[in-house]
Symmetry: C2
Subunit: 116 residues, 2 copies
């Protein structure tokens, strides 16, 4: 048995396009997630703002594994991943947090086990 943690795949619909185009707002969201889940960053996050009408990508290297976001302002969609190689994982209130930070109307969360 190789337990390699859980990857949370979080799809966020109906978000505010203005927020999805703001690196500052997205960085604040990731900082909030990192703080609330008590994660540790071990390198500077990398960000890229794509040319209009593109969105923004942010990747954070964690001691736990990674946290990423990709935004699609043209469809109000944001794709987040949070992978933690820690064995035990409990669901988190992504829906509330993303409603508040991105204006998400609906959030779909899937847990993908890594290893077996």
């Amino acid at each position: 048995v190789i337990a390699a943690g859980v990857e949370w795949v979080v799809d966020s619909y109906g978000c505010d396009p203005t927020v999805l185009r703001s690196q500052e707002r997205l960085a604040a969201l990731l900082a909030h997630v990192i703080s609330e889940l008590r994660l540790s960053t071990v390198a500077e996050p990398i960000w890229h703002v794509f040319a209009d009408p593109g969105g923004i990508t942010g990747l954070v290297l964690l001691s736990e594994s990674h946290l990423t976001i990709h935004t699609f302002p043209e469809t109000g969609f944001a794709a987040l991943n949070y992978y933690s190689c820690r064995a035990a994982q409990t669901p988190w209130r992504w829906d509330t947090v993303l409603a508040e930070s991105l204006g998400a109307a609906r959030v779909k969360v899937r847990a993908v086990q890594r290893g077996e």
Copy 2:
């Protein structure tokens, strides 16, 4: 309908621990994947080598979305993600490539649709 591409979740078992501890070898693997799949990097990759017996993490920001790897030398396990927001995706020969590059004995590939 919001089509936000496919995320390939690739779990690689029975890998050579020496390779899993080599940033150089892992960087060569990701460069090979990027070349073969004709992807475009838009920022310098970020890497972190964890203290022994830890593994290595690499994150690559792509114009297509992201490519990541986390290695676990103590169990011979490597967790890769390749997310592309391009709509059409065909399965790729991860098993052959990871057998050659990491010495993987077995590779499990899952396709996770993003959006709907």
